[in-house]
Amino acid sequence: MAAEPKNGSTDRPRGETLVWLCSAGLALGVLMVVTLLGLIFWEGITVFWPKKVAEVTLHEESPARLGQLNTISGVVVKRQTNIKSGKEEWQLLTGNKDAYGAMFKYIDAADVQSVSHPEAIVVAERMEYGNSIFYATSLKFQDGTVIPVDAPDFWESFESAIGEVRDRYRKINRLEKKDIGRINRKVNELTIEQRALERRQAEGSAIDEAQLEAIKQNLAELQADYQVLAGQARELRGRQEADILHYRLSSGQERSQPLGDFVGFHQPNRMGLWDKISFFLHHIWSFLSERPREANTEGGIFPAIFGTFVMTVLMSAAVMPFGVVAAIYLREYAKQGPFVRSVRIAVNNLAGVPSIVYGVFGLGFFVYIVGGAVDQLFFSDRLPTAPFGTGGILWASLTLALMTVPVVVVATEEALAAVPRGAREASLACGASKWQTIQRIVLPASAPGILTGLILAMARGAGEVAPLMIVGVVKLAPSLPIDGVFPFFHLERKFMHLGFHIYDLGFQSPDSEAARPMVFATTFLLILLVVVLNLGAVLIRNHLRKKYATGAF
């Protein structure tokens, strides 16, 4: 019996089992990647799908009741077994944080008497306190008209009133950000000028009194303009508070809230498939295009997407020339010997330095030394506010560029070494100098390899968080690093970043359970952004590869 399997195994070529081992390893890796991506994708994408709201009727004596009625409505998030009691419990997303004090409620499955899905129930997104789940009772307008919920035009009026509220909100935003912002900037500049003049006066040197007067008058005019605009904003804000919605919670409380507090509403139990799809798409769009609200747990993440994108592009722009030039010298010009070898080893080892160390270096070198010097030289009249002497997107990009230089150097060196000798010799034999050969023949031929290095660098840089936390990332940036205000590129500004956003949502937010869906959605988006940036680079690389195919060499 023992001889037979032995015979069988000698028939098989040696190493066959190792092939199985290799494929098993690959399969395991693929499985892990697919599972992780699938989880993130599914959790991230279902955030936007409207979910049915259940109205749960509890037993009379249940400790879970929230009001005088024994009903609660909410989205059933999870059914799980309580670790302590061993009983089944439901996690209910009840919303109405202002009324209940929490977004979630755990109820014992045993306490549940019945579950229904009433069509009339409304889910409303609010500016504060998260969503609210309620039955509308009536709308009371400023002029005193009251529309009860059973009036035929109630939903239409509600819809249009919310639309008006949104328009007004946008108007207020524009007024404050753009018009008042412009005045503030001017005031700021004039104040700096005024201060500089006054300082010189105090030092005893002669100044143009008329200039000082002009500044003061200008300031007064701006102040008047400001009053007008601020008045307009106040009026609009007051208008937001004028119309009031009365509603009743499932648990019995009667509440009323100004319409200005609402962002939108939907009735998930009444929605057909098409309504759901359009809600889904709309929700995704607002997630991508809007600014965050409520400690980032609501609203969109546009500033973070934009910040990540700009930072990655800046980083690539900085790391490419730097890394490529260094690699060219190292490979083409430097005399290969122990010194160059040790430089190469050092560069390779830099890739293994923990990224937080780069962050600390960036803070010390870029922010304090370089940024401080820039402020001293160009913005000395603004001190003590230091535009460049604090973290900003430029310093963050440069720090990451420094961190990813080894990747680019190594990839470029390899690409340069792979250019066939025949190509160089042909060029030299035509009377080209070494530099001309590198520039016209070697670099184009190695461009695909260099881009591979850049792709790796981008993938590493875009996903990095630790060093950014100390060189310029913030949880909420008031303005974008690139906008329509002269000089358009504000690279000294702090910025938001998807990676940091994930950390902030997941671990720093007041209600991490409520922020959970956003964490998944943001993670999904970060991965998507990295994939898109990489795909872009891959497409360029393939194009170059086709163009400079070196098959003939």
């Binding site: 290969q336 066939p420 025949g422 190509a423 160089r424 010799e425 042909a426 060029s427 030299l428 034999a429 035509c430 009377g431 080209a432 100098s433 001309q436 016209r440 023949i441 184009p444 031929a445 163009k547 400079y548 195919a549 070196t550 098959g551 003939a552 060499f553």
Partner: protein, 271 residues
């Protein structure tokens, strides 16, 4: 074959195929080393102007090394150094005042493996002009036409000058490389086994071309193929183990070799 005998009797200038007045390239006491390994030993001979001179010999005999010394391509190799001199038109190739770039413009080279650049046919031909900063459209067009005609390629590619050179056949690519070399209007064209990767028909075309080119250029060709040397060259130098064994007119080498080693090689007894 006895080495003693061969060194004793090998005096290449016994039967010089080249009058000193006609000499374009003079090789004087030339020794060449890769690091510590000597590749060429005391070479002394002249190469005449507007003739085809073939270097033959078994692999590793140093014929390519000598060829690449003429336009200083060996500069690229770490640790390579030489003794003696190579003089072209009265100027030493190794003179510190000789600019290697202008030297290589005066000495074109065609390699064993055709190596067109991944550019258009047009750009390939004028590469040498581009790197010297000559960019006038009229002049470039003229040079492209002349060079491609000179390399007998014009009729085949005149309608697709701006397509990639990598779309050409092997023989066409090699002729393109010749066109590229003659676009610089060099005095000498060095050919390092230009046909070894080509089929017989393409080889025949190149050989015809070499016949044409020798009216204008001095050609030095390294070849493994003795029939080829017999067909295309006026003079032939036979190398063995880094030494010049015999240098004479091609006729003499093939039909009346003075050295026993030469005879052995060309009759196929070794090498």
């Amino acid at each position: 074959m006895n080495t003693e005998e061969s060194t004793a009797t090998s005096d290449p200038n016994l039967d010089p195929p080249c009058d000193p007045e006609d000499a374009l390239i003079e090789i004087k006491d030339f020794n060449f080393f890769y690091g510590t390994a000597q590749a060429l030993y005391d070479l002394n001979f002249d190469i005449p102007e507007k003739k085809v001179t073939a270097f033959i010999g078994p692999s590793g005999c140093g014929k390519s090394t000598l060829l690449r010394s003429i336009n200083r391509m060996n500069d690229l190799i770490d640790g390579a150094h030489h003794q003696g001199d190579i003089i072209i038109n009265g100027h030493s190739v190794f003179d510190p005042l000789t600019e290697v770039i202008s030297l290589r413009k005066r000495i074109g080279m065609v390699f064993q493996k055709s190596n067109p650049f991944p550019k258009s046919i047009y750009e390939n031909v004028i590469y040498g002009l581009r790197v010297s900063g000559r960019n006038k459209k009229g002049e470039l067009d003229q040079v492209v036409m002349e060079s491609l005609k000179g390399a007998a390629l014009w009729d085949e590619v005149k309608d697709r000058l701006h397509e990639s050179a990598l779309g050409l056949s092997g023989g066409q690519m090699q002729r393109l490389c010749i066109a590229r070399a003659i676009a610089n209007k060099p005095e000498v064209i060095l050919m390092d086994e230009p046909c070894s990767a080509l089929d017989p028909i393409a080889t025949g075309k190149i050989e015809e071309l070499i016949h044409e080119l020798k009216n204008q250029f001095t050609i030095v060709i390294v070849t493994h193929n003795m029939q080829q040397a017999a067909r295309v060259s006026d003079n032939t130098a036979f190398f063995y183990l880094g030494k010049l064994i015999e240098y004479s007119t091609t006729e003499n080498i093939f039909f009346n070799p003075k050295q026993a080693q030469t005879e052995a090689y060309i009759t196929g007894r070794f090498g």
